[in-house]
Assembly symmetry: C2
């Protein structure tokens, strides 16, 4: 499998997050000669927020996390790659419970403070014994710098590890937000499309952690699509250790205030950075495409039109062919079923207006747009002419490489 | 472009439909050395029913047909291939009006009795003068046997012409239904996915023609998908000349009676036959797949789940790879957002039950399903375990050939 052309030349350096330690190892669940099991531990007092797939066939670990999110505190995170523990019935639920018990014993906490995420093949039983024997050893090898190892150990069809970080100043102190994510196919909104874990030393409350995680996911992972397919295991978790409290940063409650906005914005930035990396590593992707819809009736309508464009196989193959095929954009606007005025519709590729007022722009030169389409990162903008609402989503093109990957890989 | 593996070895012989005559010619709109303009004429008294795309950016000829369907009578049909006359603004509306006038003059009827359909590139102006000079000559060359010529002249990316016929006995007389269709990509429900024209000598009323056209389309063209993309130009028209009246067949009004059921069933058969041919000619298709959903909450829910499966790129690429990847079927059920009980979900490939009760079937042997997947025509059945409603839709697989066709062809 070839590496995405968008793979970063170097990975970002993630700072320490006091209270967060990580370790990864080979559990041999599906892969050989690579790490596939990760344990992260959190200092006492760590709060957690989360957002999960809206799939009606959500996997066992998603059910577990949803149930225990109500508790609001987290001491450990266990992630395995290669087996999604989805559609595994009562055995799947048992496997999650046993994994939580094993991790709780290793870490010294309650099972309900252990969060679990799985990614990989759907429908194969997951043997929790494989974890049980490893979690104790992982606990002994925890490190506060093992970010890249963890980002690699959660990968499935990803071609590069995904890391992001931001630091902001609050109460005169530097507070950090680190994130790792995995995802490449089966990527569509309706939460969250893959696994992402974000860690901060900001002293959030349960409520502010949940609110910031949900708001950030909405503008990042819920605004991307690779293939319109929604995973059974999508999970975004935000862990806030509160360690910055010791440096004089006071608690940041939910609700609107400047300190909250600063850290919420950093969390959103990290999530968006990771979400963009997921699209850039979209299976077979050769183009990263920003779709902007303007002039819609309301934000929901704008979003539905944007996704109708971003998920259209004909639009995506046109991008793959570097063809400024705006007729297919018209088609995708039309099929969304949302309000749009055909005779006021305008379309731009980058700064090049190709259509306006329901007709091709008289000044439009196809050669200009064809030249623009050769760039790896592209923007498509559509004004549907009925209102003021806007939406932005991100997607990639659909290439024969996507077919090659998915006609063979058993997911 | 290679011919679909499902192309019929021989085309069906279509009988005469008294009152219907056809002719096709080269108008040179986009294609060279092939016919691309078709005129059909209908005897006085012919009634018409129609169903059209639900696209919000419907093309000018669709607007025209919708407007004049209210009149209920038809004397001519003009179809061009190569230019969809969509997103062509006021010029597009003028082109349709001028074409209707030209045809009306050639045939000797009102412009409002001329129905028009276009298919091809979106967004390029259509020059009606190209038709004006041809329609008179076409009228002089009308024939009552030129079905294959017409079926070929309406093709775009189709790799074979699509014809179907049924004859039934009503009032002791044979009554016939002939149909032709085109379509290969940009195929999804929400009406009707392409162009289809059905002709009968049955003495229908305006109301019964409309009702039978709509009911037949619902179970045929509205139950297929190639790529989930909905055209701006989808059109199904049913023309009923009533010529069988002269042979003693009395009028068939709308509503439930045996005679009406017989002809409605023949119309539905012709439409479904044509719809299946469209899927079998789906761009790049190597598999024809029947998706059956059972046990759903209600028929709409069953249909949405069936389309969620049939439109999933991951399900479609699994079929392309001959991989009985039922985990992706679980994913597609889940992402539909419709009610489904994960722990009662059952899945069959053909007669092979792969999953039941939220787990893989203990008797399931992957080798059996892998052997089944090598067949060109496949059935996937899913019981979602919450009710009694069912739905059936048809689709094809997603292959690298689809990408090759659509990364190059300007539609």
């Amino acid at each position: 499998m070839s590496i995405s052309p968008f793979a970063p030349k170097s990975l970002p350096e993630l700072p320490l997050i006091t209270g967060v330690r990580l370790a990864s190892c080979e559990a041999g669940i599906r892969y050989k000669d690579r790490k596939d099991l990760t344990l992260a531990t959190f200092a006492s007092g760590t709060v957690v927020g989360g957002v999960f797939t809206r799939s009606k066939t959500a996997a066992a670990p998603v059910d577990w996390c949803r149930e225990h999110l109500a508790g609001g505190t987290a001491r450990a995170l266990v992630v395995n790659a290669g087996n999604a523990n989805a559609f595994t019935g009562i055995k799947g639920r048992d496997a999650v419970r046993m994994t939580a018990s094993s991790a709780a014993a290793a870490v010294g906490c309650e099972p309900g403070e252990v969060f679990i995420a799985s990614t990989g093949v759907i429908g194969e039983a997951l043997d929790p014994d494989k974890f049980d024997s490893k979690l104790g050893a992982l606990e002994e090898n925890l490190s506060d710098t093992a970010w890249e190892d963890a980002a690699r150990a959660i990968m499935t069809t990803d071609t590069f590890p995904k890391l992001a970080t931001r630091s902001v100043e609050i109460d005169g102190q530097s507070v950090s937000v680190n994130g790792i994510a995995k995802g490449s196919g089966m990527i569509a909104p309706d939460m969250a499309t893959m696994l992402a874990f974000v860690f901060t030393d900001a002293p959030l409350t349960r409520q502010s952690a949940q609110a910031m995680c949900a708001a950030g996911a909405e503008k990042s992972f819920n605004a991307i699509t690779v293939d319109g397919d929604t995973s059974t295991n999508d999970t975004v978790l935000l862990f806030a250790t509160g360690a910055a409290r010791a440096r004089g940063v006071s608690e940041i409650p939910a609700g609107e205030d400047d300190r909250g906005r600063i850290i919420a914005s950093a969390i959103e930035d990290v999530l968006r950075d990771l979400a963009h990396q997921v699209v850039m590593d979209g299976e077979g992707a050769s183009k990263f495409i920003t779709v902007v819809v303007e002039g819609a009736e309301n934000p929901q309508s704008a979003r539905r039109i944007a996704f109708s464009i971003a998920n259209s196989p004909l639009v995506k193959t046109a991008f793959a062919g570097e063809d400024p095929n705006w007729g297919r954009v018209v088609m995708a606007v039309g099929k969304s079923g949302e309000a749009a005025d055909r005779d006021k519709l305008s379309i731009w590729f980058g700064d090049i207006r190709v259509a306006a007022g329901g007709e091709v722009d008289p000044d439009y030169l196809e050669a200009d747009a064809a030249a623009y389409m050769k760039k790896p990162e592209l923007e498509l903008r559509v004004d549907v002419g009925v209102g003021d609402a806007t939406a932005t989503v991100w997607t990639c093109d659909l290439t024969s490489q996507y077919i090659a990957i998915n006609a063979d890989y058993r997911s």
